[in-house]
């Protein structure tokens, strides 16, 4: 508690000096354009915001970085960026922990003969590489230089190509483990365009997902979640139905009104069956009559009874679904989750393309754009070819930037073995991950938050990145390194910088978008804006004439051989994606929404199978394929098919820093090296594995005290039918009061949480950790029930009798009017402010924990230890919030620091606080706008309006205790999937 703020205050002096002396240090960012506050000067004690782009996954959300005294302390979505629109996911928030990761490589390092790392100066390192490259060029082996990078667009993409051109090589791999090969393949087959379309969930009237986890990891989860939230807005007690068909109850599936469980790889049959019904019943709107017979012929085998045979879905249901979907006009069907790659992924996606096509959804909810930027991603097939050339010694120098193929490539692919043949392996990486650990030279690069750059997630969206702070360590931008190398190779003294390079490229964009304006203005405006955003240029697609029944058959992957009894399914982890998030402690600590596991990797197994093998939750089980074997704790899960085991990808790092190492095991070790038959992707799914109970209990850290709520009406759900029937019924609010209630003279802060919109993504939890300096306690303490999350996404599976879907209840301090926690505190550390906050004064708390015992919602968190923020993670701490010491109770404050800020801001402007001035961190980031905060005394405030509009859905948790919470929940709603 002492150190951090003192450090900040020390910095205040330095910061004001830094503003007074421009250009005194080399690495200083130039011409930073603050967004919210005009760039007069940085004022100590006040935050400055910089717009940039999140590079934690290929989605490319626009962000605002909050900087205090020269340090980035929080990341939020950029409201004008079309992908994020002000929202951000957990992984986006955790980019800060990438920036301040204590395991970052702090200066260039070279591997010695004995395998230990030694320091090397930047110039020496770059010269060493340049010399090697010069030698190769002299020998005429310029093409032996290769570059693997994560998916890049824009300036860096161009620069890498330019660099490779300079040395005369074309060995460039835009490598993403999850490359959506099946979508590309399907588009190619059905429409003859090898592209990945954009999906518009907010414009659909019916949503079906065929195993696509579009709210978690699939393509652009924040955008999808945002649009999904809009789609699920209730209109006259009705909303857009959402059906999920898939092998596993993922977070996306659980948000569906109906989840139909099918064996992995059989989803396609339903899609084709629906097409069958639609084309035979003549309700297809999307296609000309001429094509109708064509399509009829394609799907002629998939009459509903055949679908029932394949998937187990009753044929009447198939017919009803088809009719409802066709009537939606437009509906939206999505497919192509990486977890189905290798298991009829391409077939399912093709079927879904066809379904969308016949319903006329193409061009409305499924849009192909002129430039599809994800299509540049190299497929696994290309990687395999590259491995072969490495093996043959055709690669002498390999650069790896922001990519970890040693971890994400199946072990059986031989990547690691082939890597040894490369003479000089240069890791342009910030972390010592599995790939950099094998490198000869590590040139640490700036984190995206310290870098210039640009990123185009989709057509017309030009995101611009600017450094929000000086680099934490002695690192450089990847672009600067490449430019320096290029200069060295060309014996060019001119030290061009990547900043200039980006600017030059933006001159082109300027020419394209606004040729008649002043470039400087355009540039400054773009920086402030976080980029330039124009409408996408769409393209129309037509059904491929050659598309036939046979084509469908060709898309089928081989049926998995079932020898050992279990089919393996892997899927990208919600928090760690392909493993890159594993070294962010927040992402380790924030539970997986469905399983509520933390700091762990697990095997999901159906209760029937588990009973047969005598496996209980947390038992160690061995999963063995022909390629490898791993041991993991079991998670007995109703949401999975019998005979299938599912393991998330992302954990099981052997390197990658203290937070990632030695947690679980990576299912990638089990995967086959061979390509999926159709798409050339990794076979993420469909592998035959055996499961053995190792008869050992593992210490798993599961946050859920109970998976079910029983008779307790914590999480309430209604169907639209019930809602319409009881649309006038309100919760009984008035209980007899013994005491005269206290008056709130100015404000009474309150919150409304729409459970129907909460998808469980936990972005609010991460935002809260980030905003409120919540420490990460680690696995052992989570296991003991000592996690400190102020807001918790509680998950129950039994909220409705007729469905096993998990549902989410964001549980945070309810700021009760008659709070049971307050009167029991002997020292007034817990008390009620006259604005209705249930306040906790940390420095007054003596730690009796009585308040926590007496809180029926169990939202108070106790500091069992003095928690450590290993440097430089402590730089992330929000200077506006006290860091709590051991022995002190803490809890949600409704972001009281933001209320104070808003009040001060209003005061400076000589007005009252307006509705919307105070936005707590959780509401700010919630992609679906499930959380709304505001003044309950103001009848026009959004929070009151929402309550007013949804009277029949509003309820207080544990209302019968008469705690009179300030948080009102709106009941979750189930829409009918067939009409």
């Amino acid at each position: 508690m002492e150190i951090k703020r003192r450090d900040f205050v020390k910095l205040i002096g330095a910061a004001s000096v830094a503003t007074a002396l421009p250009g005194c240090t080399r690495q200083r960012p130039r011409n930073l354009i603050p967004y919210v506050i005009p760039h007069e000067e940085i004022q100590p004690g006040k935050a400055v915001w910089y717009a940039s782009v999140c590079r934690e996954c290929p989605a490319g959300c626009g962000v605002h970085v909050r900087v205090r005294e020269g340090r980035a302390v929080k990341v939020e979505g950029n409201p004008v960026h079309p992908v994020s629109e002000g929202k951000l996911c957990s992984r986006g928030h955790a980019s800060l922990q990438g920036l301040y990761n204590p395991d970052r490589i702090q200066q260039p390092r070279r591997k010695r003969e004995d395998g230990r790392w030694e320091r090397i100066a930047w110039d020496d390192a770059q010269e060493l590489i340049a010399d090697k490259i010069k030698d190769l060029i002299d020998e005429g082996r310029g093409d032996n230089i290769a570059f693997i990078n994560s998916h890049q667009t824009g300036s860096l993409d161009a620069l890498i190509n330019e660099f490779l051109n300079t040395v005369g090589s074309a060995r460039r791999l835009n490598y993403e483990p999850f490359g959506y090969e099946s979508v590309k393949k399907a588009s190619d087959t059905v429409f003859n365009v090898e592209k990945i379309p954009q999906y518009k969930f907010n414009e659909a009237n019916y949503i079906i997902s065929f195993g696509s986890d579009f709210l978690e990891t699939w393509m652009s989860p924040v955008k999808h979640a945002r649009e999904f939230g809009a789609a699920r807005e209730l209109q006259n007690s009705r909303m857009v139905p959402f059906l999920h068909v898939g092998p596993r109850l993922s977070m996306t599936a659980t948000n569906a009104d109906e989840f139909i469980k099918v064996k992995p790889g059989r989803e396609y049959a339903l899609a084709l069956g629906m097409v069958h019904v639609i084309v035979h019943e003549n309700i297809a709107r999307g296609i000309p009559r001429a094509q109708l017979n064509h399509v009829r012929a394609v799907v002629e085998d998939y009459f509903p009874r055949e679908v029932e045979r394949i998937t187990g879905i009753q044929f009447e249901k198939v017919e009803k679904l088809a009719r409802t979907f066709a009537a939606a006009n437009p509906g939206l069907a999505v497919a192509g989750n990486p977890s189905l790659d290798g298991n009829n992924g391409a077939l399912t996606t093709a079927a879904v393309h066809l379904l969308n096509y016949v319903c006329g959804n193409i061009g409305r909810t499924v849009v192909f754009e002129q430039t599809d930027l994800l299509e540049n991603i190299d497929s696994y097939a290309n990687m395999r070819r590259f491995v072969r050339s490495m093996k043959q010694g055709e690669v002498s120098v390999l650069f790896v930037y922001d990519s970890n193929p040693s971890f994400t490539m199946p072990e059986a692919s031989g990547f690691n073995a082939a890597l040894e043949k490369v003479e000089l392996k240069v890791a342009l990486s910030s972390y010592l991950d599995e790939t950099s650990a094998q490198a000869d030279l590590i040139l640490p690069v700036n984190s995206p938050l310290e870098s210039w750059g640009d990123y185009e997630p989709s057509d017309g969206v030009y995101g611009l990145m600017q450094p929000s702070m000086k680099p934490v360590f002695n690192t450089r931008m990847a672009g600067d390194i490449l430019l320096s190398l290029k200069a060295l190779l060309n014996n060019d003294e001119n030290d061009a910088s990547f900043y200039d390079y980006v600017r030059e490229r933006w001159r082109e964009i300027h020419q394209r978008l606004a040729p008649n304006t002043d470039f400087e203005e355009f540039w400054v405006g773009s920086l402030a804006n976080g980029g330039r955003f124009t409408d996408a240029q769409t393209m129309t697609v037509q059904l491929n004439d050659r598309f036939a029944k046979q084509t469908l058959e060709e898309l089928k992957d081989r049926e998995p051989v079932e020898q050992n009894g279990f089919e393996l399914m892997t899927y990208p982890s919600m928090n760690h994606y392909d493993g890159r998030g594993a070294n962010r402690p927040w992402l380790q600590e924030i539970p997986d929404p469905m399983t509520q596991m933390t700091w762990e990797n697990w095997v999901e197994i159906h209760p029937d199978d588990a009973n047969r093998l005598g496996i209980r939750n947390g038992d160690k089980i061995e999963v063995r394929s022909s390629y490898g074997v791993i041991e993991l704790p079991a998670y007995v899960y109703e949401g999975i098919q019998p005979g299938v085991v599912a393991i998330p990808v992302g954990q099981g790092h052997s390197e990658y820093g203290r937070y990632a190492e030695n947690i679980g095991a990576s299912p990638i070790l089990l995967l086959s090296a061979s390509l999926a038959d159709v798409t050339g992707s990794v076979k993420w799914s469909g592998l035959d594995v055996s499961v053995v109970n190792k008869q050992e209990r593992l210490r798993i850290a599961n946050v859920a005290g109970s998976d079910v709520q029983g008779e307790r009406p914590f999480l309430q759900v209604v169907t639209v039918e019930e809602l319409i029937r009881n649309s006038t019924r309100e919760e009984k609010e008035e209980y007899p009061q013994i005491y005269e209630p206290h008056e709130y003279p100015e404000h009474r802060w309150g919150m409304t949480i729409d459970l129907n919109k909460c998808i469980g993504c936990s972005a609010c939890v991460t935002a809260c950790y980030s905003e409120n300096n919540i420490p990460v306690v680690g696995k052992e303490d989570v296991r003991r029930g000592r996690e400190l999350s102020w807001i918790q996404i509680q998950r129950f599976f039994d909220a409705r009798e007729d469905s096993d879907n998990g549902r989410f209840l964001p549980m945070l301090c309810q700021h009760c009017t008659a709070a049971p926690c307050e009167p029991v505190c002997p020292v007034f550390a817990a008390y009620h402010t006259n604005e209705g906050l249930n306040a906790q004064v940390y420095n007054r708390c003596i730690g009796t924990r009585y308040c926590s015992n007496n809180c029926p919602y169990k939202v108070r968190r106790f500091n069992w230890w003095d928690y450590d923020f290993p440097s430089p993670l402590n730089w992330q701490l929000n200077p506006d919030v006290t860091v709590r010491t051991k022995g002190v109770m803490e809890k949600c404050t409704f972001c009281v620091q933001r209320i104070t800020d808003a009040r001060q801001e209003a005061r400076l402007e000589g007005r009252d606080i307006r509705d919307g001035d105070v936005v707590p961190a959780c509401q700010q980031t919630c992609p679906t706008d499930a959380i709304v905060f505001g003044d309950l005394k103001d009848p026009d405030s959004r929070v009151n309006q929402l309550r007013e509009r949804n009277k029949a859905r509003g309820y207080h948790v544990l209302n019968e205790l008469n705690t009179q919470p300030a948080v009102m929940y709106l009941k979750d709603v189930v829409e009918e999937t067939t009409s």
């Binding site: 002096g13 503003t19 007074a20 100590p44 008390y831 306040a839």
Partner: protein, 169 residues
Amino acid sequence: MNQNFLYPLYIILFVGFTALLIVVGCERQPTHPRQPIDFSHKVHVGEYKIDCEYCHSGVRSGPVAGIPSVQTCMGCHQLVAATEPEIMKLREIWERGEPIRWKRVNVVADFVYFDHYPHVSEGISCETCHGDVGQKDELLPTPHLHSMTWCVDCHDTYEASKDCMICHR
């Protein structure tokens, strides 16, 4: 009132232990910080009547008053008293392009969030809290700035809010 001798023994142990805990638990204040430059408020404020806000310019727009940048110092000292030994020091620092590493004099606890603006805007003079710095060559810690009693008394006098969340969060 002497009694069973175990009882006083117990009390002594208890009190002693408590005292130990209090001592351990307390933060210590810096007593006599040695500044890199012998800056004198007496000269600047007392003799030359320079307004506080000339240097501590943040008070009307935000929480922190701010320590003036070296540039602010040099704004005058390019010419004024340029040959004084302490000013020579300043010039050296300026030429090296370094910030001056002033030592903090008053360290308010980390859990206290004091915002200058609302106080200044209500017309509370700087002297009310910081004392007559124009009389002092060297600033020493002002004990009342670390005492909540002092804050609360003043809030009582001015009928300002005594809500805990005003200062603690």
